[in-house]
């Protein structure tokens, strides 16, 4: 294995570059992608850095192929990643499902821009949040993280690789154009612990590649290590062989979901600011959470006890955290650059306990704090 390349020290770096450096620090040695604004800086940096550190960069013919190459590279034994924006994310959905079904550890970054379709190539959006959750067909669980700054983009990319190995699942970095293109201080530590792949230890003879450990995650034997493996998107048994029975399907899909949902403490991160005495909670994520914080400070100046609940983990949705906040406040406001996506989850969890408001627009620019303030005042008025 080639040596890892960690660019320790303080940098003035944008979120895209921070994701690329986070991948390298986590031990990523394979990146396949197709360039797309506002993701291109990730690909550009890794195209420069990976060949110099013993890794592989491939510019694929499209995003279908990029995602397929990542699945193959992970089964070849590498830590693999791709990155894209909305239009490419749509093309990745089929093979993202393959990665989920085949329990392939990998990381996918989506630097969101305004959609649908080609939409706003150079301007911000957060309209892919539900696509991240349900974009591929079938029922499944995966993990999605939302950085609000270049520093967090670095930190969460490192964590994303560790989570993908622990759960053998794709982990999505759901960032956005503003965080991706925004330059800020990024401090990269001297030491970053590399999350190892869980390898089988038993004899080659009789090895079952999809027989899970106690935590429902099977160890992963990669191609060329001597263990027999069979990798298919068809419903399969513990040998990896197709089994078209409802029982086998139930067993597999249930385990693929349960292995994630049974361990929320491993991936659920939120941040609460000004929440101790808050009467209104503003819920947001990514770049919108920074605007929301500005609005919370404005509200406080006007005597409104507002606080911020920032979702760092979007999926699986932090039900318990949001429910806990709903029990402490008298109203909640969700702020996002779409016409209301994560707010549906808030609604589902809060179940009418408190009044809810949404501050939405479909992207092209971030909110202004005064727009969010109006949402806070609206929900205060209907207490």
């Amino acid at each position: 294995m080639p040596a890892r390349s960690v660019l320790s020290g303080v940098h003035f770096m944008n979120g895209d570059e921070a994701i690329a450096e986070g991948a390298l620090a986590a031990g990523c040695t394979f990146f396949a992608a197709y360039p797309i604004t506002p993701q291109s800086e990730i690909a550009e940096r890794l195209a420069f850095r990976l060949p110099r550190t013993g890794g592989v960069f491939i510019q694929m013919e499209d995003e279908l192929a990029a995602m397929a190459a990542v699945v193959g590279a992970a089964w070849g034994g590498t830590k693999a990643m791709t990155a894209t924006s909305g239009p490419g994310f749509s093309l990745m959905m089929e093979n993202l499902g393959l990665a989920i079904m085949t329990e392939t550890p990998c990381v996918v970054a989506n630097v969101q821009r305004g959609g649908p379709s080609t939409g706003l190539p150079t301007a911000v959006g957060q309209g892919d949040m539900m696509q991240a959750r349900w974009g591929s067909h079938g029922h499944y669980e995966l993990i999605s993280l939302c950085p609000s700054s270049p520093q967090e983009a670095f930190d969460l990319t490192v964590r994303a690789f560790a989570l993908s190995e622990r759960f053998r699942v794709p982990v999505l970095i759901m960032t956005d154009e503003v965080v991706g293109h925004m330059y800020e201080r990024v401090e990269i530590p001297e030491e970053i612990s590399e999350a190892p792949r869980r390898r089988p230890t038993g004899p080659v003879e009789g090895f079952l590649p999809y027989k899970p450990d106690e935590d429902l995650v099977p160890p992963m034997a990669c191609a060329g290590e001597g263990y027999r493996i069979h990798v298919t998107g068809l419903t399969h048994d513990e040998r990896g062989y197709p089994d078209m029975s409802a029982e086998a399907h139930d067993r597999l899909v249930r385990r693929l979901c349960d292995k994630i949902t049974r361990a929320p403490e491993a991936y659920t991160w939120t941040e609460e600011l000004f929440m101790d005495d808050a009467e209104v909670a503003v819920i947001s994520y990514g770049i919108s959470a920074r605007v929301a914080l500005g609005a919370v400070e404005l509200a406080r100046k006007r005597g409104i006890k507002a606080g911020l609940l920032r979702l760092i983990t979007a999926w699986p949705f932090p039900d318990d955290v949001v429910r806990g906040v709903a029990e402490r406040v008298q109203g909640m406001v969700t702020v996002e650059l779409n016409m209301g996506q994560m707010s549906r989850e808030v609604d589902r969890v809060v179940k009418g306990r408190v009044p809810l408001a949404g501050v939405y627009h479909p992207g092209g620019r971030i909110h202004r704090p005064d727009e969010v303030l109006r949402g806070i005042e609206e929900v205060m008025a209907c207490r």
Binding site: F12, T122, V178, H181, M182, Y183, E184, R185, R290
Partner: protein, 183 residues
Amino acid sequence: MRHEIRFAGFGGQGIVSAGRITGGAAVLHDGTHAVLTQNYGPEARGGACAAEVIVSDQPVDYPHITQPDALVIMSQEAYDKFSSRIQEGGLLLVDEDLVEYGERSDVKVVAVPSTRIAESLGRKIVANVVMLGALAAAWPAVSREAMLNAVLGSVPPHTKDLNQRAFEAGYDHVSKEAMHGAT
């Protein structure tokens, strides 16, 4: 302490680079907080282009500038679009050969022939660094040493000498003008 600046011109002039160097000077050399955001269209060159930098002793949440205390303007289009959006008493730095500007009593106008100076040094491409030298002399948010170090840290090694001369030329232009104005 909080300062906001907008750099504006057209793509290819090094507008975003100038913003990145300014933010880098603050973060890497002065040890303060800085955020750079940028606006540009799908074109590679020639389109309108702007970079916004906030320099602050506190972490910055809302990342866009609201009322800048400095503008660096390198095209007429940028002047027409942005020149009124500045704090009263702020600093308006223009490339005097590229921008026609009227009398301004509300702001301090500093005119620098940055593209012409850059051409006299042999490379038009360093006009943005001439402007950064001028900025370092006229704007208190970033120190001269920090700005120069950030310039030298972000240009290709074989162009360091040229860029240093461009920086000094811009800095001296403003310093001399200030001395001249004082006498």
